[in-house]
Structure formats: C-alpha cells, structure tokens
Assembly symmetry: C2
C-alpha cells in the first residue's frame, strides 16, 4: 500500500519534477491496450512507470540508469492467473527465482496450501516474504477450506465468517477457486463468501471443469467471474459466450492449451479479449525445462494465434479478468514497472526482466539477489506427530486367516482413479498388500496434532515391488501420505518426514534411498530451483527403483487425498467415494 | 444487495428447479462478450438472466411470460458511463422515464448536485428512489466537494474522511470525477480519497479535458482508470495508449463523438475495447429530440465503426471500464436482465426494453408505471433564504457619480468566458449595468443558510434589453444565480424562486414571464419529460424576450459558477479568475 508521501512523490515523478531511476530507450512498445507496436521510451521511478513517450528527456538526469533496447521489443510482465505455488515445492522466493527469468512478474494465488498448514494468521509471514520478493502475488481468500468432501483435517478451516472479516482487506483480491459443487449444494459457508464478495465488489474466481449447459447456468448464478479449467474448446467457448473470463490451463500434468485454443483458431476469434493463461501447478523441473507463461505464448502462436493476441492473453486479459489491471497488465504511466525486453513478439525470447522497477535479469543473466527470509519456528516445525511403527499401517480385520475382497483405488492417470476390486490374503488378522496383484497399502496421517487420524486403504496400478514412498506435501490438506508394500518401510518413510519437518522420501528395505527436505510448512523448500529439480529427478529415479511404472509416482501419491478427483480418494478421515461424496469401507467381503 | 435466500433462489433458477418468470424466444443474440451474432433464447427469473441457450424448455412452465423476438436482435441494455442526472432537471425517476425508451438501463453517476444541496445524509432518500426505479445507478463518491476553487458555499463538503467512512460501502462504485488539477496540486483531501480507493480496490473515475504528455503522465500516477472528456481524437488516442478507459462524451452542448471516433476510424481500430460512451449532461428536450446512448451507437456506425463494436462501446466496454461488468454489460446467466429487442444492429431502433427483469417498453409503448415517491420536507424545502430587495444586487462603490472601469465576464460560448473591460456609469454610488454596452449585473446568492453570501459582478455578451433571469439549479454549487439589467426584476426573480422552493424564471418589468418549478432539492422536477421539455421551450422563448441572443441563456447562467470553465466565473464567494484560481475585484478604476 502506498503512503501519502509515496503517492505525492509518484505524482511529482509523473510530471518529471522528480527524475527517473531507470529508463528504457529505443525499444518498440508492445501496446497490449491498443494492439499496437510503436517506438517508445519508458521512464521508471521506484516501482512504477512514470512516462511512456517518444521524448522522455525531461525525466532523465545523471542518476538515471539507461537501458538501450534498440532492435528489441518491450512487453508487459506476464501474469499467471491461477497457480498453487506450493505445488512446485519451491518457497515463495524460490518460485519467484524460477519464473521471473521466464517473464512472469505477477501471479494470482490462494496460498491455500500454506493456509492448510499454518492457518490465516500464519500467512502473515508468507505475505512478508512476498512483499520482499520481486514477484507480485494477488491473493484470493479461498472460498472455504478444507476443500475435501467429507472434510479432512487441516490446521485451519476457512468459513464465511473469515470472509466477512478478511475479504475487505486491501491484500485480498477476490474469492479463490470457488468450486461448482459448493454452489450446487448451496453450502452455507460458500453462500456467505459469495455474498460478501458482492458486498466488497471482489471478483469470484471459479473452478468448474467439465461444466456446460444447465450446470453452467446454475454455477454462473453465484456471480463467478473467472474460470480456469476447461477440458475442451467447446466448454471454453460456452463459458466465454456466457460471460466468463476463461483461463487456459497448461500445467506440468494438464496440457489444455492446444485443445482449448481451438475455440479461437477454429471457432470464434472474438472471444480473445476474455481469454488468459494459467499454469495451476508446476514443478521446478517443469519450469526449468519448458518455461512458464512465456511457453504458453509460444504455444498459442504456434497454434495460429497472432503474437499480439497471445501476448494480450498473457498480460492485459488476465489483468482485466482478475480486476488487477489498474496495477498490472500493460506498459503505461501509473502502472507497476513490470517490463520484459524480448527479441520479437513472434518468438518471445526474453532477454531482460524488470519487475517492480527492479532489474531482475539482464541479457539472460540473473541480476537480482534472492534472499531467503529468516523462517520462524512456527513455519518450519509443522509436523505435530509422534514416531510411528509398522503396526500403525496394518489393516486389521476380524478374520484371522483367509482372504478379503478389497475395493482398491486404482490410479489410471494423475486425475482419474477408478474402483478396482481385488482379493487379498488375510494373515494373522491383517489384510496384506500383494505385489503380484499390484496392490499396495496406503495411509494418510493427520499431522497438525488435532485428532491423530491415520486412515488406511489400498491402491493398485502402481506396480510397487518393494519399499515405500511418503510425502508431507499433499494438496489439499497436506497431511502425510504414505504408500508401500512393506509396513516397516512405510513407518521409516513417515518417521523420516517427521524428523525432517516434512519432505518427500523413498525407502527400500530399511534404507532411505532418496529424500527431499521440505521444511517450509512441510511443503516447500528454500533450495534453488535448479537444485530442487535435481533432487526431484533423484527422487523419481528412486521411486522407480521400488518398481513403480507410473511416470511420477510421488506426484500421484500427493494428489491421492484430493476428493475432487474422480472417482476415489483417501484422506486422513478415510477412503472417499467422489461419486457419492461419502466415505467407503475398502473391505467388501471376508472369507475364511 | 442479495440476501442468502435470494442467492439460493437464483441458483435454483439457474438449474431450472425454479421456473422463469419471463422468456424471450427466437431472437438473435448480440453477444458483446464474444463479438458474435447467433440465435438464442433467454430465460429470466426476477431481476436476473438465468439461461441463454438454444433450448430453454426446462426453464419454462405455464406461468412463464413468453416474448417472441422472431426476426429481431437482442442487445444488452445500454450504459451511460458519466452523467450528472440533475443537469437534466428531471428527478431520478423521471430521468429513468426519459432514457429507458432509448435503451439506457444503467448509468454511472456521482449524484454530486444532490449532495451539494442535501449532503450525504440526504442522499439516502435519493437512493430509495433509485432502488424503486428500473434505471440502475452505479454511484461514485465525488473525490471532494465543492469542486470550485476558491471554494464556494454548499450544504455539505466532502473530504477524505468521508471517503474513509463511505467508500467501502457496497453502493459506492468508485471515486467520481477526480479532476486533474486536484491531483496536480496534490490536494490533501483528494490524496486521501485516492489512497482509500487503492485500499478498497475501487476505480478512480477521472476528468482531464485537454490533457496530454507530461500533464497526462502526472495525472495517471493518481491511479485514475477512466476518463470521460477528450476534446480531440489525438487526446483520446494518447489516453487509450496510456492505459485509460476512454469515454466519448456527446451531450446536449458538447458534441465530441464525430471528432473522438477518428481515433478508431482513422488511427487505431485496436483501441475499441477500451472505448465507451457517456452523455455527461443532457436536457429532457435533448433526449426527446435526439435520443441518448442509442444515438451515440448510430453516430458511431455512421462514422464507420462496425455495429458490433459500436454496441460494445455502449455496453460491455463501459461496464468493464467502470468495473460493473459482473452485473451488467452483456446478456449472460447471472447478469441483470437488462435486454433490448431491436430491429437490427446496424440501425439500432429499439422496440422493447426489459430492465431489472421488468418489461418497461413493449413495441415502443410505455408499459412500466413510473411512480413519483413521496418527497420529504427536507428534500423539497431547500431554499434557506429570506426575500431580497433590489438593493441587494446594486454594486456600491466609494464614488458618488462618475464612471468605473469594470472587468466583466464575457460569455463567448457555454464553456468559454473571457475578460472584457468596459467603462460603466456610476450613479448615486452604484455601478450601473448598460444595455448599449451589453453589460448586465449578476449575483450569486448562497441558499443553504450558512453565511448569507451575495456576490456581485458584471457579465457581457448576453444582449439583455430588459428584465432578469434566475436559476437555483446551477452546478456545481446550486446556489441561486441571477442576472439582469433591472435590479427590481432581479429581486422579483430571486423571490419567485424562494417562494417556489427553487426553479428557473424570467421576469420582465415586474412580471413573471415564465417559470419552471424545480422543487426537488431546488434543482429537479417531477414533471413528465415531455412536459418539462415544453416548459423549457417556453422558458427559452421568454429569455429571448429580454433580448438575449445567446442560444440558451438559462443554461449559460447556470454554468456561470463553475470555476473549472476558463477564464472567469462567479460563485457566492465572488468573481473568480480561473487562470489564477483566485477571486478578482471587478472594479478596476473609479473616475469622477
């Protein structure tokens, strides 16, 4: 927030009474407000653009740093319209370091994973980190937490009352990720959040994958403004036609751009102004290998969208969708100085990055010094759990020896889990996982010291041959998820995470094969993106050593507690049937 | 504001569990969100659109009223992005009656003229009137009042403190008409209003006529989002390029459309999405003769803009500019049911008007019954002034007989007033107006019972031959302005307004020739628009009988106290020199 002094200073900088700190000269402006390219010089004072004109000589004195952008183009900083930063396992400052070289200067985020661990009060520390980072975060208060149905256990439940208290705060930019089902069921707390948003004129950000026709109409009555998840271009087009700002999602696992973009390239070019981009969830590795929103620009251009429109989708369109265009989204006086110097619009190779008026990258070299904040004890000691034993994971039944017909959660893809019924041996009163039948044991352990829940179930389709894997980073509740075919290894995996204040681990035959420490809230790391990416590769390799043939078993594991993924899930509360939104008992039959 | 019950009901109406009240079938939708025309049926429940689909049969039962729009087009209701309703002299409900047949269903307004008379507390009664009217008003709290420099006397001064108290209210949609000069001078109260807007994420609506280059940059540092006044298309284009939402003004007196639109038709078609329309000030007569925002659509099409783009400027663009597009601006589920049935986009002749889900006009016939609210005493007794005498208007000087060199305010046009020095006779210690030299006397009388100010000065260029004219409707302070060449007639004119609780009057030789009563706050009338228009014509004719050769002398008179019009003005505080923002003494020299 600006102070009176700040604002007066900026007014004086706008009139050139105070001279610019930084000037970019000789470049060609990509004016996303007017869809034009023309030569312009830019003057910057502190964090803001103060002039964009042919002649900015009045703004310059001997203290002004000059950047020559001859033969280059000037793009606004890019916006990720929907991202769970925490899913990258990078801390906020390290995520900034990963995406800024790719031109992302603003993100819209709910920080919901942090909230699940440290609550709304703990978020203050994260906001401090954000304020000292060159990456801007436009925060939306989650419509409610936990997201799970039935509700799992997290450190803090957000209700309508929180919206009444917090939503009007300057740092709250909307209601985060309101899911269609919560509107459909007229969930009391969600209704309160929606009414509060109407009162505060804050945008409602929605989540309604695979929603069309009457279901879409019903959802739209909530007042939702933005939606970030369409599975095909017909869905995207219908949403745009019905007034939604539609965001195309292209994440590490969910690649919708090439399909979604057909809504423009094959159907209706006119929807362009209400289309923007998001990544939703990405890993350090994915960003380093592929890029971020800059990659979406390239993909869109490859698909036949004009460079101007593709850049607008990554800048002004997303800013307008999220009602943050008074601050970001284009290069204009009064807006934040988030500017990229690129080779040319059609290629979009980023050479220099300026964010919040600071030089971050210059000629593809990191200039900004990313400083890791001192973390409070509260933030780095978030596993409130005693050591466990193999016994804790054994599925006990009333039968001593025989067999059990078991409903397993069979992973078909990262976002599809089907029911698969398998007969397993019962030995000494315990249902045993079975390597031949490809069934492993799974548990979710409540880790906030609230109720000590340890749920138990079975998964199939993972081809485990030995050992166990575990993670404390597991949206949406970030309890500890562990899976394996060896109960002792499962215990060691969980105890390792407890001892390390969180992380992801692979254990085989009593040995820790690979470990990523995630001490920040048990979900994020302060490692440099490159280093984290290396550790991720090692962890993945280790996970393959236990025999898993899934492309990314740790990722699959971490998403097991998300009850919004069809058809089955498991939370600390138990095994969940998404189709019924109810718990189910995995033991279907016992036979002696 | 919706209640929980309302919202739940709308959700059920969206899913068709509750059936529609109204359906419009067989029409062609003008989809301003996607720039498409296609066949669609619309279902409406209470005040909102609940479905826009090919098949809406599930939404209809025997109670649903059906409107057949075969061979017709369906346009969103139109938006006037900047209008001082009070300048029309129509009360809020009568203004609705005037503009709704022309398709205007939403306006953005500061209600600033009302505030000058009845303060912010008095505004509650006006909001009640608005809530019962089918015309929606998106209200912005004026950045400060009075607007005049030096400050004139009004009933209530708005300061930064009011912004801190009121701006976060749900019915406040932004900061109204922030003038460039207040930013330039870093006026303390204005700075507070701007910072508060940043805190509340409310749009800052600006006013910066004839502003380019560095002055524009300076103004933009305020965070201003919208500007409604560009004198030429170069100015408009520069503002759009610098990120402003630009509004083209076409009022009764200020016709900017044909010039401003060249920014699109001759320069940069790409600015279109950030261009919208306003009328700023209109009279009943003007609306009846010319139309309102519908006329601007036609003018834009005539100038070469495509019908789709012209309609977007009158709907979604203005909604987005003012951040009211979650509620209005396009035909989509969840939005207000503001729908026009027209002949075709290129002609834009309106046949049927639906606003807030109510049928207002059907086949060009008025259906809605406009009810005049019972007015409180406070609202209809706002002239707090005792009867005056001729003596009150005489300009006394220290000289008994001789001549005075006088600085007169010479009206060149409605928005240009120049200095003209004239020598007048002094008789018995009084400076006399002079018919031959075309100089009349003028006074502004403070009418809120605050200080009893009566200022005195001289105007030229009006060609008065006899009598006097007076008005209590006179933005921005709405004190009583009277001018004439006969002091007795001036007194009678003012006393007539006092006796009638406000109005506009022409007096000749002790007789009231014509009077419009304006009892609502002394500035507005509850007469039907047609009747008020007739009275306006009669009043104008009467004003011509006193010899005035100005096209609209009452209008010129009412604008005399506006200190923002160059070069000279007169308020209750005295004669004002705009170029110096100071009072001046009209008596330059006395010669015996």
């Amino acid at each position: 927030m600006l102070t009176k002094k700040d604002l007066k200073e900026y007014i004086d900088a706008g009139s050139s009474k105070i001279k610019a700190d930084l000037a970019i000269i000789n470049g060609t402006l990509i004016n996303v407000d007017t869809s034009e390219y023309y030569k312009a010089n830019i003057a910057i004072y502190k964090e803001k653009i103060v002039a964009v004109d042919t002649d900015i000589s009045d703004y310059i004195d001997e203290h002004t740093k000059i950047i020559d952008a001859k033969n280059k183009y000037l793009s606004p900083g890019l916006i990720d319209c929907h991202i769970h930063v925490e899913c990258s396992k990078l801390s906020m400052i390290r995520f900034a370091q990963a995406v800024l070289p790719h031109g992302t200067t603003s993100i819209v985020s709910g920080l919901d994973e942090y909230i699940s661990v440290i609550g709304l009060t703990g978020l203050k520390e994260i906001f401090q980190e954000i304020n000292n980072s060159p990456l801007k975060v436009f925060w939306g208060l989650p419509y409610k937490t936990p997201y799970t149905i039935p509700e799992s256990t997290i450190a803090y439940d957000i209700s309508g009352k929180d919206h009444q208290k917090i939503q009007s705060n300057p740092n709250c930019y909307g209601v985060w990720e309101t899911v269609r089902e919560a509107v459909q069921t007229k969930d009391e707390s969600t209704i309160e959040a929606l009414l509060e948003a109407q009162k505060n004129h804050k945008p409602i950000l929605g989540c309604s994958p695979m929603t069309k026709g009457k279901q879409l109409n019903e959802f739209l009555m909530s007042g939702v403004r933005v939606d970030h998840e369409s599975y095909d271009h017909e869905e995207l087009l219908e949403k745009a036609r019905k007034g939604l700002h539609v965001v195309i999602r292209e994440s590490a696992v969910t690649k919708f751009l090439n399909e979604n973009i057909k809504a423009l390239t094959e159907k209706t070019p006119g929807i362009s102004r209400h289309v923007s981009f998001c990544s939703d969830d990405v890993s350090a590795r994915y960003i380093l290998d592929n890029g971020h929103i800059d990659r979406m620009i390239k993909l869109a251009i490859n698909a036949g969208v004009s460079p101007m429109e593709a850049i607008q989708m990554a800048t002004i369109n997303g800013a307008e969708a999220n009602e943050i265009d008074n601050q970001v989204g284009s290069i204009a006086p009064g807006k934040d100085a988030d500017i990229l110097i690129i080779d040319q619009p059609g290629k979009f190779n980023i050479e220099t990055v300026i964010s919040k008026g600071k030089l971050i990258e210059e000629n593809s070299k990191e200039i900004f010094e990313y400083k890791i904040p001192k973390r409070s004890n509260k933030l780095v000691h978030t596993i409130n759990l005693n050591h466990v034993k193999a016994e804790n994971f054994k599925y006990h039944v009333s039968l001593k020896d025989g067999s059990a017909k078991v409903q397993t959660i069979s992973s078909v893809g990262p976002f599809v889990r089907k029911r698969k019924d398998v007969t397993l041996k019962v030995k000494n009163g315990v249902v045993e996982p079975n390597i031949e039948k490809d069934v492993a044991a799974v548990s979710v352990l409540e880790r906030y010291g609230i109720n000590g829940n340890i749920s138990k179930g079975f998964i199939s389709g993972w081809s485990f041959k030995k050992g166990a894997i575990a993670t404390s980073a597991a949206p949406d509740d970030n309890n500890i998820v562990v899976a394996g075919v060896n109960y002792d290894d499962m215990a060691l995996a969980v105890n390792t995470l407890i001892d390390n204040n969180g992380g992801q681990v692979v254990v085989i035959d009593g040995k820790i094969i690979s470990l990523i420490q995630l001490p920040v809230a048990g979900i994020a790391s302060d490692l440099e993106p490159q280093e984290l990416a290396k550790q991720e590769i090692r962890l993945d390799d280790a996970a393959k050593k236990i025999g898993s043939q899934l492309p990314d078993p740790i990722f699959y594991l971490s998403f097991l507690p998300i009850t919004a993924i069809p058809d089955l899930a498991i939370t600390d509360g138990g095994n969940v049937d998404y189709t019924q939104l109810k718990y189910f008992d995995p033991i279907l039959e016992l036979n002696s």
